[in-house]
């Protein structure tokens, strides 16, 4: 994988680069930012996160399992307590709720890992330690014949450092 990385000092320059990149259709790009910024989010204009589906499925699975485990245990060893039914849904709502929260939260984390593609064992090329500090970065993977064009585009947008990496 070969690409161009541009390092930016300013937020608005980074947004300019993103806008230009989208217009030029040079290829897939990744933006590095030390903190989430609405300006970058709006410039990229990506769709909604799919994490919500993991959360929903996890929560529904959890509430189902929570009720089921309480009812199953009660039926497995049926003891009448306080003249109540063997499986009573009102107190078992506590299990339904707690397990919903537990599985839902863990599913959300699993969804984060799946959609954001981490944990990663190694850094991919293009990453620079300065991106967690205060600088912004834009990584593009253009076709080999448009490498120079990508490099020039990043410089025009205000990149203070541009380099080709592989």
């Amino acid at each position: 994988m070969r690409g161009v990385i541009g390092l930016f000092r300013e937020l608005d320059s980074t947004c300019d680069a993103i806008t230009l990149l989208k217009k030029s259709k040079l290829g897939e790009f990744t933006v590095y930012t030390p903190t989430p910024r609405h300006e970058i989010e709006h410039a990229i204009d990506a769709g909604p996160s799919a994490v919500r589906m993991f959360t929903l499925v996890g929560g529904l699975a959890g509430v189902t399992f929570g009720y089921w485990i309480a009812i199953w245990i009660s039926d497995y060893w049926p003891i009448v307590v306080g003249g109540k039914a063997i499986a009573t849904w009102i107190p078992y709502t506590i299990f339904g709720f707690e397990v919903m929260v537990l599985i839902g939260a863990l599913a959300t984390v699993a969804g984060l890992f799946a959609t954001a593609r981490f944990p990663r064992i190694t850094h991919t090329i293009g990453y620079d330690n300065r991106f967690s500090h205060g600088d912004y970065g834009v990584w593009i993977e253009p076709s080999p014949d448009r490498m120079q064009e990508a490099e020039q585009l990043l410089r025009d947008a205000g990149a203070v450092e541009v380099r080709i990496e592989r």
Binding site: L11, T30, I44, G111, H133
Partner: protein, 486 residues
């Protein structure tokens, strides 16, 4: 992540001087580099930190020795005297669970409510939650005669294939506490990942760098990671929010499901939740106020943030006060002689001093927070927080001990006197909590680096058509209180 809203105009600021709002202003924090330098700078161990850690470990060892002695000699050494079979351990269990609640309130509920002042204090509060719940979780185990069989409460059959009784509030407790601990720890760790990545990229020691690299899970600050991270964080906050309400409600069921006088009341769940948040905010003050001084972070955790948190403490103290009065009213209105007699005993009986202490600490002293001067006086806030901690421990004492020692039949009435084992284990719990907290604040940032960066004005080349400049807060460095950042 931090919430930035439209900054107040000069006219608005003039009309409402020194009033904390959702707008977070850190005028003394200029740029991202300063944030990294100052917050990471707090991670270097100092002599005072080693002394603090040593004292915490000493307390822990005292508690551990007492527990070892108790395991060897039996639970009788803990001062139980029938019918008072719940004592310091259950009181301290409820106390520590309660402490945890403010952390989740600050980190999750205030996040959903867009309360900006949470940004600077939530990391400490969240860590406090995890360590407080870890501490609380020890006490039901300590309270078991055979602590090595604690796992019988987990839905896992013993060798006779008997499962736990799912209608028992103690089993509800196990589910609630384990869920709370797991979700709180997950919330803390996921929020820490971008900050650990900052540490990884700045670390020069190869061993620590490798360790941080593992813990950062390969985080790279890409737009894709942030997009999903922010959404996942929101959902975790949304899951944690009802947990604040549910966990202490479930803890209150341990009492309210019985027919013991003073316990069998429907006011217990909201009463416990409000008390938990109140006590937790007290502990946040106990921790944050010295921390901002020792770490020289007064320009991050500003007086405005403490003022807003003090208002929250005042509000919850008022809720708790109403709950105390409701208990009295219900005892009178119920017409039950046992209830009436019990509450009279609570006020004038052998535990009158504990009741007086709790009402003073939890109802009277917090009224001082109506004064803005008191809310913005860190010395008073810290002293008050100690009173809050004491008052809330004694609130649980008054719930547990007088009820059990003064039930329906006069021949059952008894006294209760904690032994040195109880006190030693109580000390040990503070040592255990302090040890984890002290270790945490020297390994990980006690203020969220990436969230602070969100409210610091980003570097800009020029005024941008997309309006990025307007999100910055171009206020001059102007402390609200003279000498605030000294």
């Amino acid at each position: 992540m931090a919430i930035t809203t439209r900054p107040a105009t000069d006219v608005e600021l003039l009309r409402r001087p020194n009033i904390p709002s959702a707008n977070v202003r850190l005028p003394a924090v200029k740029d991202y580099e300063q944030v990294d330098d100052e917050i990471i700078g707090t991670l270097h161990p100092t002599a005072q930190w080693f002394i603090g850690l040593g004292v915490a470990i000493l307390f822990l060892l005292i508690g551990a020795s007492a527990w070892t002695y108790q395991i060897y000699s039996g639970l009788g050494v803990a001062g139980y005297n029938p019918p008072v079979m719940w004592g310091v351990y259950i009181i301290t269990f409820v106390f520590w669970v309660g402490i945890g609640h403010a952390g989740t309130l600050i980190s999750a509920i205030l996040y959903l409510f867009r309360a900006g002042f949470r940004t600077t204090i939530y990391r400490c509060a969240e860590a406090m939650t995890v360590f407080a719940v870890m501490t609380a979780g020890l006490f039901p185990i300590l309270h078991l005669g055979r602590p090595w069989k604690f796992f019988w409460l987990i839905p896992y059959p013993n060798w006779r294939y008997i499962w736990p009784q799912m209608k028992s509030p103690l089993v509800w407790d196990v589910f609630a506490i384990l869920t709370y601990l797991t979700v709180s720890a997950t919330f803390l760790y996921i929020g820490l990942v971008p900050d650990i990545a900052v540490l990884r990229d700045r670390e020069t020691n190869p061993i620590r760098k490798r360790l941080f690299a593992q813990l950062a899970l390969g985080w790279r600050n890409t737009d894709r990671e942030w997009r999903h991270f922010v959404r996942a964080y929101l959902f975790l906050a949304a899951f944690s929010t009802p947990l604040v309400l549910s966990v202490h409600s479930v803890v209150s069921f341990d009492f309210a499901m019985s027919d013991v006088p003073g316990w069998h009341t429907t006011v217990f769940p909201p009463y416990f939740v409000a008390g938990a948040i109140y006590s937790g905010i007290g502990m946040v003050f106990t921790i944050i106020i010295p921390l901002r001084k020792w770490f020289n972070l007064k320009h991050y955790v500003t007086i405005n943030d403490l003022d807003a948190a003090a208002k929250l403490a005042l509000f919850t103290s008022l809720v708790v006060g109403v709950a105390y009065m409701m208990e009295w009213f219900v005892a009178w209105y119920s017409g039950s002689p046992a209830e009436k007699q019990f509450f009279a005993n609570r006020l004038w009986g052998q535990w009158w001093w504990a009741s007086a202490l709790l009402y003073t600490c939890n109802m009277v002293l917090p009224l001082s927070l109506f004064s803005q001067y008191c809310r913005r006086n860190t010395t008073w806030l810290w002293i008050l927080s100690i009173f809050i901690n004491i008052g809330m421990w004694f609130e649980r004492f008054v719930i547990v001990v007088p009820s059990l020692s003064h039930e329906y039949e006069p021949w059952q009435w008894a006294g209760y006197r904690p032994t040195w084992v109880d006190y030693a284990i109580l000390c040990g719990s503070f040592g255990w909590f302090a040890m984890w907290f002290l270790l945490f604040i020297k390994q990980f940032p006690s203020i969220a680096i990436t969230e602070i960066k969100e409210i610091v004005k980003p570097r800009l080349k020029h005024r941008h058509a997309m309006g990025v400049d307007s999100t910055g807060l171009p206020l001059p460095f102007m402390p609200d209180t003279p000498g605030e950042f000294d």
